[in-house]
C-alpha cells in the first residue's frame, strides 16, 4: 500500500474540504440556530483521518491561512487572525483534531452505529472540549479576560458545537455505510 502518497492526498484534500466549509454560507438549523461549519471540519478530520493525518491537515490549513489565503469563514486570512482574541480557538484546531483522532482510534468503529457513537464521543472531547480549552486560554491571554469571564464567553458556543458533534456522528455513520472499507481513526 503506497502509504506516503495516500497520506499526502488525504491531508491535502481534507484541508481543501475544511476550506470549502469556510466558503459555505452559514446553515440555519430547524430552530433558527445558525452554525458555521469549519469546527465541524476539525471533528471530521479526527474521526476520518486518524490523529496524525488530522493534525497534519489542520496544520496545512492554518499554514495556508497564515500565508494570506482568505480561507476562514467570512473570507478572513493572513497573519492578523493569529493575533485576534479568538486565535486560541484556531491554534486549538490541530490539537483538537489530533485528540479526536486519538480517541476515535481507541473506540469501536466496526459497525456504522458504533462508529457514529464513537465519533460523537471523540468529537465532543477533541473538537469541543480541547478546542474550547485553547480558546479560553487565548481569551485570557490576548483579551485579558479573567478565567470566569472567558469561560462564560465560551459557554455560549457549546450548544452549537454539540449540534456539530451530532452532525459529525451522522456524517461518520453515512461514510461507514457508503465506504464500508474505510478505517476510522487512521
Amino acid at each position: 500500500m503506497h502509504n506516503s502518497s495516500r497520506s499526502l492526498a488525504l491531508v491535502s484534500l481534507f484541508a481543501a474540504l475544511i476550506a470549502v466549509f469556510g466558503l459555505i454560507p452559514k446553515i440555519d438549523l430547524p430552530l433558527g440556530v445558525p452554525i458555521t461549519l469549519q469546527t465541524l471540519g476539525v471533528m471530521l478530520a479526527g474521526c476520518l483521518l486518524g490523529p496524525k493525518r488530522a493534525l497534519q491537515a489542520l496544520m496545512l490549513f492554518l499554514a495556508a491561512v497564515a500565508l494570506g489565503l482568505p480561507l476562514l469563514s467570512g473570507g478572513r486570512g493572513g497573519l492578523g487572525v493569529f493575533f485576534a482574541p479568538a486565535s486560541g480557538y484556531l491554534i486549538g484546531w490541530p490539537v483538537g483534531a489530533f485528540v479526536t483522532g486519538l480517541i476515535m482510534a481507541l473506540l469501536p468503529t466496526a459497525a456504522p452505529r458504533s462508529a457514529a457513537i464513537s465519533a460523537f464521543v471523540a468529537s465532543a472531547v477533541g473538537g469541543l472540549l480541547v478546542v474550547h480549552v485553547f480558546g479560553v486560554v487565548g481569551l485570557v491571554n490576548i483579551a485579558n479576560l479573567s478565567w470566569e469571564q472567558a469561560l462564560m464567553g465560551t459557554l455560549v458556543f457549546v450548544p452549537g458545537d454539540l449540534i456539530k458533534c451530532a452532525l459529525c456522528a451522522t456524517v461518520v455513520h453515512t461514510v461507514a455505510r457508503g465506504l464500508p472499507d474505510w478505517r476510522f481513526g487512521g
Binding site: H2, S4, S5, R6, L8, A9, L10, V11, S12, L13, F14, A15, A16, L17, A19, V20, L23, I24, I27, D28, L29, L37, L40, L44, L48, L60, F61, A63, A64, A66, L67, G68, L69, P70, L71, G74, R76, G77, G78, L79, G80, V81, F82, F83, A84, P85, A86, I142, A143, N144, L145, Q149, L167, T170, V171, T174, V175, G178, L179, W182
Partner: protein, 197 residues
C-alpha cells in the same frame, strides 16, 4: 482561490518577506511582555501610521477591520463593566498593533515569497522526515481541490434543491465528504505513479 495580497504597490512591498516576519514576531513578543500604556500607545500609533501609509492597498481589508473594531469594542466594554479601564486600554492597544501589522504583512507580501520563507524555516526538519517541497505540493493540491469541492458542493446543493425545493444544508455534508474521500484515493494512486512512493 485569490490571496489577500494587494497588487497596488506600496513601499512595504519592497521590504523582504523574512524581514517583515521578523519584525512582526519581535513586535508581537515585545507587546505581549509590556503593560506600559505609553509604550503601547506609541506602538499602536506607529502601526496605524504604517498601515495608513499603504493607502489604496488597504481597501480590501475593510471586513477584517470591521471585525477587529467589534472585537475591540466588546473587550473594552467587558473590562469597563468590570471597572478595569486600564486593562481595557492595554488589551485594545495590543490587539490593534499586532493585528494591523499582521494585515499589513499579508497585504504586501506575495504568497510565493511567504511560502519560500516557510520552506527555508522548515528545511532543518528534513532530518526528521518533514520535507519543505512536500509542503509546497500539499498547498498546491489543497488549493486545486478547494475550488473543485466548492463546485461539487454547489452541484449537490442544486440537485437537492431541484428534488425538494429546499437548500441541501447539512444533508449534503455526508455525500460531499464521501466524494472527497473517494477523490483522495484517486489522487493517492496518481501521486504514487508519479512520485513512486
Amino acid at each position: 482561490m485569490g490571496s489577500l495580497y494587494s497588487e497596488q504597490l506600496t513601499w512595504l512591498h519592497a521590504v523582504p518577506a523574512y524581514a517583515k516576519l521578523i519584525a512582526l514576531a519581535l513586535l508581537g513578543t515585545g507587546l505581549f511582555f509590556t503593560d506600559q500604556q505609553h509604550t503601547l500607545l506609541v506602538a499602536s500609533v506607529c502601526c496605524l501610521c504604517v498601515f495608513l501609509s499603504l493607502g489604496q492597498a488597504t481597501t480590501k481589508t475593510k471586513p477584517f477591520l470591521v471585525g477587529l473594531a467589534i472585537a475591540c469594542a466588546l473587550i473594552a466594554i467587558f473590562h469597563a463593566y468590570q471597572q478595569r479601564l486600564d486593562l481595557a486600554i492595554i488589551t485594545v492597544l495590543r490587539l490593534v498593533s499586532t493585528s494591523l501589522m499582521g494585515v499589513a504583512l499579508t497585504l504586501t507580501t506575495r504568497y510565493s515569497d511567504l511560502l519560500h520563507v516557510f520552506e527555508r524555516l522548515l528545511s532543518p526538519l528534513k532530518h526528521i522526515g518533514i520535507s519543505s517541497e512536500q509542503l509546497a505540493l500539499q498547498l498546491a493540491l489543497m488549493l486545486r481541490f478547494t475550488e473543485h469541492f466548492f463546485v461539487l458542493w454547489r452541484r449537490l446543493d442544486e440537485a437537492h434543491r431541484l428534488r425538494t425545493g429546499k437548500s441541501g444544508a447539512f444533508k449534503i455534508l455526508a455525500p460531499l465528504t464521501i466524494q472527497m474521500l473517494v477523490a483522495a484515493r484517486r489522487v493517492a494512486d496518481a501521486l504514487h505513479l508519479r512520485l513512486r512512493r
